[in-house]
Symmetry: C2
Subunit: 426 residues, 2 copies
């Protein structure tokens, strides 16, 4: 672990730099696969599933039978846990519902804003060694609350052409319309153009490896919206002398086990705390099953000693962490002052893994400093706001002249005329 | 004008197709300019301003003196109109403020959502023959209400190195921090990377030609957010027998004058209304100063006769218009049923130009069918939502087991351990 004491402000940018990702090499491959699938639909999708997932499927859509079998196979204990998490996620995202906003800006000029669900959406769930069913909950639950009509889930099949029971169970529990056993670039391309099997959608959500990330970026070129760009997961813990080094170490490690490219940072005003955390990390690391993976990330991690809370806050806002844990006496200072973060965990008994699974907040969050401009996934991610206006005769008399003058000044005479032609009748 | 009577549903996709834009040819140029500006900063910016705008500037930033002079030069009448528009836009966007959402999902598990302003933003205002100062209002007013700190405006200079008085006046009136006389690809690249003169920002807003549009798309590759992809402006009017053909024609023409690639559609349940509108358009077109431009768009316009309101609504939602005017007896049917539109104008005395300037709604809206997934610019476009959670000891006892079970099922043992290590102390 790298300990950095009191770094100067003009070194912050370098210190907080994320490892750069090379998108350009991947882009060519992604573009080629997009073109192929745009032209050849399912035939091309099938080809790439064979190449990348090593399986030849005759049927891509998960059948009702498969879903029923999966539901049977998930243990009652895990089902109960998933249902508990679902209940909390549902409560928090339902609380995010907004009502129509209506206002008369001038007499006779009424403006209002209403939200509508995005009708057709695609959820991407990565495959790999562990079945990340929790992401199904995080995307499908708010989509269902928003009222999205077609909720299509794509996830790669394993070499036997199967997907995890837990994913199928979570999908049916949360109202997913269709589960398709297609992953990677071919899934994103399919959702972008539509194929015989994959419906074309308006917006694509969910994490993925760098191929999926670039594919989502390319999808936006074809008019499909995405939740946000993605990067490796990251955690920043702010801890002072009141923090518990054992707990802090466990949080840093829970982030580190995601992979060698995970970002782990500790910022502290206390040197003894930093030393204690360093020791604890070494101790806990030894007994972790994913030790090798976590070790790499921990080696690249940074423990930063700062002078005071004000400096810490500036540095944290400059970094804009995806996950931000606050273990300090002065919690309110950080809660009020943080402007750039995905999700914030407050106090010694709020581990990051609570938000990953079950507290109720969403775990699909902006990484790579994107929290400077992007929200994490929330109810509004599945809706768009539309505006309306209705003007009465009296209203047009009140506002007409203003429109005429401004339109004329912009040289748009037909814009002016649309008002004048009405005013002449009033 | 093309009149289409009762088109079959399987022809809708073809009928509602927008003219395709060729992004790929432009992309190479944009990428080259981005690379150059990333490496060479202001030197490169200066070079491209010379090439594209035909002017060599020694100072890019508008001085206080220039702003004062511009303020003097704008007529009192136009100032009053701009202030009136500002007041309405301010009222409607202030009404969109949301408060903290807080909920206890389980005893001891509190989750909340708060919004924060995006700290550094860039507004792009196109140049050209007409000074589009109204867009300054539409972007800078909500940015100021949101609380954005650095609001940078970029707009191309004319051959004399000047920008329109109206733009400078509107910028200072609405709290823009810095006005920079740089346009096109070089402005977007500058805002993406930062140069000696142009600050690096987190999100870029505003319309532009196809070069600016592609540049904004490329900016997202470098982690900068954008308001939305842009395309040519468009209007769909739904009018029945109760509509006023003269008014409808004036609205269609106000859209058509934007340019030859503007999209103009009329959907109606009444053949006589369609015929009457067609005649009126020809009549009004003759006296328009921008006749040549409007004529081209009008030639490509479509007047579509449909059987009934239900069919009309389906067709309109399939098209997803940027601007949607409702001139029908049954207004509520369309207001409630519309799911895909940017901004909606209700009734015979609500011309689209009202929303372009002064009703209070925003005129930066999703074109090209993007309203299926994107909102128009609104207060939330300048903020991001962050989530927080705080769990008490009691709370962790309630929720801990659920997290442990789920983390274990996903094979993430350090995630589980972050809970177990705390539970052992409780």
């Amino acid at each position: 672990m790298n300990i950095i004491e009191n770094p100067k402000r003009d070194c912050w940018a370098e210190l907080l730099k994320r490892p750069t990702q090379t998108v350009n090499d991947i882009e060519k491959t992604v573009n080629e696969i997009f073109d192929d699938i745009n032209r050849n639909g399912d035939v091309a999708v099938s080809k790439y599933t064979h190449i990348f997932d090593g399986v030849q499927l005759t049927r891509f859509t998960a059948s009702e039978e498969e879903i029923n079998q999966a539901t049977q196979a998930v243990s009652p204990e895990l089902k109960k846990a998933i249902q508990q998490a679902k209940s909390n996620i549902e409560k928090f995202h339902t609380a995010q519902k907004t009502t129509k906003i209506e206002i008369e800006t001038q007499e006779g000029v009424t403006c209002w804003q209403e939200k509508r669900a995005i009708q057709k959406i695609g959820l991407y769930i990565p495959g790999g060694t562990a079945p990340l069913f929790s992401t199904v909950l995080m995307l499908a639950i708010p989509a269902q609350i928003a009222g999205c009509k077609d909720i299509v889930l794509c996830t790669p099949p394993n070499k036997e052409g199967k997907i995890a029971n837990e994913i199928l169970y979570a999908a049916q529990l949360c109202g997913v319309s269709k589960v398709i056993k297609i992953g990677g670039i071919q899934a994103i391309a399919g959702l972008t153009f539509g194929t015989e099997t994959i419906p074309k959608v308006y917006k694509i959500y969910g994490p993925g490896n760098q191929f999926v990330t670039v594919a989502k970026q390319i999808a936006t070129k074809y008019g499909v919206a995405i939740d946000m760009p993605a990067g490796p997961s990251e955690l920043l813990v702010m801890a002072d002398v009141t923090a518990n080094a054992e707990y802090v170490a466990s949080d840093l490690l829970s982030q580190a086990e995601h992979g060698a490219d995970s970002q782990v940072l500790l910022v502290s005003t206390s040197k003894p705390l930093i030393t204690a955390v360093e020791k604890e990390v070494e101790k806990q690391l030894k007994v972790l099953p994913r030790q090798a993976m976590a070790k790499k990330a921990i080696e690249n991690s940074k423990l930063i000693l700062v002078k005071n809370d004000a400096e810490a806050l500036d540095l944290i806002n400059e970094y804009a962490p995806e996950h931000f844990i606050i273990c300090t006496e002065n919690e309110a200072f950080y809660c009020n002052g943080i402007v750039n973060a995905g999700s914030v965990f407050v106090g010694n008994f709020t581990p990051e893994s609570a938000g990953d699974y079950a507290s109720g907040t969403n775990h699909t969050l902006p990484t790579n400093g994107f929290s400077k401009a992007y929200s994490g996934v929330n109810l509004d991610s599945f809706m768009k706001s539309m505006t309306f206006q209705k003007i009465t005769k009296k209203g047009l008399l009140n506002i007409g002249k203003t429109i005429e003058i401004m339109a004329e000044a912009e040289g748009l005479h037909a814009h002016k005329n649309a008002v004048s032609i009405r005013l002449k009748d009033l």
